[in-house]
């Protein structure tokens, strides 16, 4: 790689696939006949694959490649595949190709590598047959895994019944080969594996040997409780060692210690090592090529402020290469790195884009239905259970079906093209694909109709995978009958489908950001840097939000300086309009066209904007326990931070200071973890120790959740003799009392020490409480105004917790910062850029397309009762006075197509297009046993 920001040149070497991509149909006949079986890396080498194979079931493109184990490549023998391939797609003359590409920016999304436990022989991985890693186990659980979703032991191919998970393998270790940081994700993924194991085998006994349980992610605390409450699940806090393997049964004995019984040994059928996350393979070499610096752990070095910036301008990092992160954070930074590339390359936006052109749509609404049915094998997913050829033959007997065929993977590029081609060739005007859930692939199949010049709403999907083959794997004949029923119902509905038009709405290319904290300001600056005006609302008199109360981060960022600089940039930017002391009085409109009324400093303003970002932050819980508010010496961590920064001697000069964690959360009232308090406590403790090394500091905690790199600081605090005492409510909760000691008024903290097994009385000058982070006071109001929803814990609810963590269910509204969930500043910045990235995908377009499946009113049938209007919470229906009385009218832009109104309407006047009574009832009627009608179709 050479060049600089805005103008890089990258040379790539593409390995030969030995398959001509344009010719391969993905039929996999070559795989069947290939004589070479070798361990399949995708399935963790547990099962075998062939030298020629498809990498995995959802690979793109879904075609084969040939790897080094091929006999011809090794010894110039065999060539069976070449003679089998009917498409002449095998080409052994291919050689590595050099490609040179020129780009303006680079995103390194190199990911992570699972920790390899072989570096520590004491884990016995590779030595004992039934010690597996969590990655191995993940594949065992998977339907496309080595045993088709059966959890089996490789030693005897039997189902393990008693399984142990060992946490922190390769993480939180300062031994050779281990990583000192916490990998952040293993606690929850192990819990997921336990839940899935119990799904496979309800009586399975699952034991998790853990240190702290780190459920710091959104909704993870509830997930942990769900796992813990399953019957037969034990969480045991203990270090372990893997002692021996039973030579006959190959069972594995684990040694551990529990406070009451001391050291114990227990035999398990299988032991799963919860391996941590390591830097990607070849990370040093890659860092060298791109000229970026790495941190001490081998991940990308990132800025204190900008966690997506590498040490080299123009090169960004997203996902796991930032350090160990979970999926939502990976998605924040993916979208965020995109936004930063956008800032850099905005001047070139759209220059390489080409609009897709579809053929002119044919009007077939007057024709009799001519239905084509395509039945997908989904590899073996469907075909293994459902008799696909007989389903095809059956489809041909259905009324109006003129064509039917089977397909290996209907979603493969060549199969999709086949659907288009056959639609044209056979004059089809309705298409049914019998395959999987419409959730993922319906858009793709609709596209095949558009390509054929047919309205896309003439498409119907029959789900014979999730609804059939996957749930009836042991009843092949019944499953085939059911598949036929599903196809028959789909065909019946298809015959009633109507062509619908989607319509384009203009986009107002300005954004509104609600909340002027770090999240809101960062997001606003990124949006404005990409050429869009921003209105920024702040309810306080000045920008800055919660960060105004913070002084430093664990990594040493001067927060005050940073926030001031950020605020100045915002104030000075001519395209950012800041409204302080702002309150929203009304919010109307929809994606691309919002109208928000705001009162700010005596003015009443109407703002028109295309996108809305909610970044209203969060508040700190005001504790009611531990004498807070009654005794001045009891303060919160946030107040402690302020006092340390101000040099308050009552704090810095204290002889003894006690911190109590989890105050006001992880309880019945607030059943979540506030995520940041453990790190916050460590930060304050280290600051105090630096100022006053002799100070006694006690941290009373439940689980130390110093995930990621914070773990290093936790260790440092312990090294500096900060004392950590675990407490377990409700039986064992600390007590704080005011007392006199030697004439001096002090605070007395009593807590049960689980290590000593007795109560400790600690004399403290200051007690600092990790007060919970709670949703901002106006959260509910804002949610109501913008018609978005809240999670059970009262924070804003994203559209999808993993995949769409910066968006809302309501289109055109985005989310970032603590309004989403408590998070650290760098995480907030990640998400703020992420939200900006999503905003840009909307604002950079001239129009947005609205669905055709919305409601409409047949005015003649409307009796003006208003039942529809009451049912619609989007305000999409209104009653208008006409000469024939009141009539309902639908604003199709606001309609989300849920059809609640339709079910309420007494006369059937209002109807949800694409889900009309006719369409639904035809499907219900077709559920009855069908009389076979022989119809002269053709089959392939």
């Amino acid at each position: 790689m050479s060049g600089s920001s805005g103008d890089f040149s990258v040379t790539l070497r593409e390995k030969p696939r030995y398959i001509i991509e344009s010719k391969c149909t993905g039929c996999t006949s070559c795989v069947e006949y290939c004589p070479v079986g070798y361990p399949d890396p995708f399935n963790q080498n547990i099962s075998k694959n062939k030298a020629v194979h498809v990498y995995f079931a959802q690979a793109i493109p879904l075609i084969t490649y040939i790897d080094e184990s091929c006999l011809y490549l090794k010894e110039k023998k065999c060539l069976i595949c070449e003679s089998i391939c009917k498409a002449d797609a095998i080409d052994f003359r291919q050689v590595p190709e050099k490609l040179e590409i020129r780009v303006g920016a680079i995103v390194l999304a190199l990911g992570v590598e699972p920790f390899d436990p072989r570096v520590r022989t004491e884990y016995r991985y590779g030595e004992f047959a039934n010690v597996v890693t969590s990655m191995d186990y993940e594949r065992l659980l998977c339907a496309t895994g080595p045993y088709q979703g059966e959890i089996l032991r490789s030693s005897d191919l039997k189902h393990p019944h008693k399984i142990a998970w060992i946490q922190c393998v390769g993480s939180r270790q300062v031994i050779a080969g281990g990583h000192s940081y916490c990998s952040s994700v293993c606690c929850t993924y192990a819990q997921k594996q336990v839940i899935l194991t119990k799904d496979h085998d309800a009586s399975a006994e699952c034991t998790i040997f853990h240190n702290d349980v780190r459920s710091h992610g959104k909704d993870f605390e509830r997930y942990f409780q769900r796992t813990e409450q399953l019957p037969g699940v034990r969480f045991i806090r203990s270090y372990t060692s893997i002692v021996r393997e039973n030579p006959d049964s190959k069972n594995v004995t684990v040694r551990y210690a529990i406070p009451d019984d001391g050291v114990k040994e227990e035999e398990f059928d299988m032991v799963v090592l919860s391996v941590g996350l390591s830097p990607p393979v070849n990370y040093r070499e890659l860092a060298g090529i791109f000229g970026i610096e790495l941190n001490a752990h081998g991940f990308s070095k990132t800025g204190l402020i900008n966690p997506m910036a590498t040490s080299r301008p123009g090169i960004f990092v997203s996902g796991g290469f930032q350090g160990p992160v979970d999926i939502p954070e990976s998605v924040f930074s993916a979208s965020g790195a995109g936004a930063q590339c956008g800032e850099l390359l905005d001047y070139r936006r759209g220059k390489l884009a080409r609009a897709r052109v579809y053929p002119q749509e044919k009007d077939v609404s007057q024709e009799a239905p001519r239905v084509g049915v395509f039945v997908c094998h989904c590899g073996a997913n469907i075909g293994r259970i459902v008799d696909v050829p007989s389903t095809v033959a059956y489809a041909l007997t259905l009324p109006h079906v003129v064509y039917a065929q089977e397909q290996l993977f209907s979603c493969a590029t060549n199969s999709a093209k086949q659907i288009t081609d056959m639609t044209r060739e056979k004059g089809l005007n309705r298409v049914v694909v019998a395959a999987c859930s419409p959730r993922t692939l319906e858009p793709l199949f609709r596209d095949t109709l558009r390509e054929a010049g047919i309205n896309q709403y003439y498409y119907e999907m029959a789900n014979i995978r999730e609804h059939c083959s996957w749930v009836h794997s042991r009843e092949k004949e019944a499953a085939t009958r059911k598949a036929k029923d599903i196809v028959r119902m789909a065909v019946a509905r298809a015959c009633h489908l109507q062509p619908l038009q989607e319509f384009d709405l203009p986009v107002d290319r300005r954004a509104l950001v609600v909340g002027g904290g770090v999240a809101g300001m960062t997001c606003a600056l990124s949006i404005v840097s990409q050429g869009h005006e921003v209105y920024l609302l702040e309810k306080a008199a000045e920008l800055g939000g919660m960060a105004r109360k913070l002084h430093s981060t664990l990594e040493g960022l001067d927060v005050q300086g940073y926030v001031q600089e950020l605020a100045q940039k915002v104030y000075r930017h001519p395209q950012i309009h800041v409204y302080a002391r702002a309150a929203i009085t009304k919010a109307t409109g929809y994606i691309g066209n919002f109208v928000t009324r705001v009162q700010s400093e005596g003015r009443d303003i109407e703002i028109r904007h295309g996108a809305t970002v909610i970044a209203v932050g969060a508040d700190v819980h005001r504790p009611t326990e531990y004498l807070y508010g009654e005794d001045d010496r009891v303060i919160t961590h946030l107040e402690l931070e302020g006092k340390i920064a101000a040099g308050d001697e009552t704090v810095t000069g204290a002889e003894s200071l006690v911190m109590i964690q989890c105050v006001g959360c992880r309880n019945e009232d607030r059943n979540y973890c506030s995520r940041i308090c453990c790190t916050h406590a460590i930060k304050n403790a280290l600051k105090l120790k630096a100022l006053n090394p002799t100070m006694y500091i006690y941290i009373l905690f439940r689980d130390m959740r110093t995930y990621g790199y914070s773990e290093d600081y936790y260790r440092e605090a312990a090294d500096r003799e900060v004392r950590f005492i675990r407490y377990d409510p409700p039986e064992n909760t600390p007590r704080v009392e005011a007392a006199k000691e030697g004439g001096k008024s002090v605070l007395k903290v009593t807590v049960m020490d689980p290590v000593l097994g007795r109560e400790l009385e600690i004399t403290a000058d200051i007690v600092s409480l990790a007060a919970a982070i709670v949703p901002a006071a106006d959260t509910q109001e804002i949610a109501g105004l913008f018609k978005v929803t809240l999670s059970p814990d009262g924070f804003f609810k994203e559209a999808h917790v993993k995949l769409r963590p910066v968006e809302f269910g309501a289109d055109g509204v985005y989310l970032c910062g603590m309004a989403h969930y408590p998070k650290h500043i760098t995480e907030t910045i990640n998400q703020a850029y992420g939200a900006a990235g999503r905003v840009l995908t909307l604002l950079s377009r001239d129009t947005v397309t609205a669905s055709g499946s919305v409601c409409e009113v047949m005015e003649k049938k409307c009796m003006g009762c208003g039942a529809c209007m009451t049912a619609c919470l989007y305000g999409a229906v209104e009653l208008r006075e006409t000469r024939q009385g009141k009539k309902a009218v639908v604003n199709p832009v606001l309609c989300k197509g849920d059809g609640l109104c339709n079910a309420k309407c007494p006369t059937g006047a209002i109807f949800l297009k694409h889900f009309t009574d006719d369409e639904m009832l035809s499907q219900i009627d077709a559920a009855k046993d069908h009389e076979v009608v022989i119809n002269g179709g053709e089959s392939e």
């Binding site: 799904d199 269910g809 009627d925």
Partner: protein, 235 residues
Amino acid sequence: MCSGRVDLEFVLRAFSNGIDGVFIGGCRLNECNYVTHGNYHALNMTLLCRKIMERLGLDPARLRIEFMSGSEGNVFVEVVDDFIRQIKGLGSLGSESGVNSNTLKSRLVEVRKLIPYIKVMKNEKLATRLTDPNAYTDFYTREEIDELLDKVVSYYIDPEKCQACMICQRRCPAEAIDGGKNRIHFINQDKCIKCGACVEACPPRFGAATKISDRPVPPPVSEKERMLSRNTKEK
């Protein structure tokens, strides 16, 4: 489409078709991805439908609604297996009350015709969304449904009073009013959905359209008698 789109007609149509059980799957309550919480509407409709089923001689257990998320395949399997066991236990449709299948069929046809009427009469209750699922348990009572369906009203246009002005005819959402200019209107009882729009539309000075609840609807008058002679009026 949301589970709240499931119409009373969908369910009753299925039973009419001889289907032994109907299962409605909705998202988890209080976890709506949108603002609508349409699953509560589905629950509301289900409870109403169950009471109607009782009256028809169907075990209400034949209609089941359950709430679960897309990731709870295991819950779905459990629930469906259980439902199928239950339906098999109940036997063929109507066997639970000994109603023969033809009687049951005609009862179903009859009640399906009344769906618009039920929706009009229960308009407010159907629109209610309680926040606590438990509060729905006795939301609809058997007595209430009997009262509703025992005292079904009919609408009738008195040929003596009708001035053939076509106002009600234009208002009727079901196109159930036959007539024309100078041709006295009558209501086709097969098409009438009993919404009462005609009574509201009929000018009070005529008062021709009325609600009848205590006697059968008189038959329509002959075609000859229907011709309205304006002369008498102009005298």
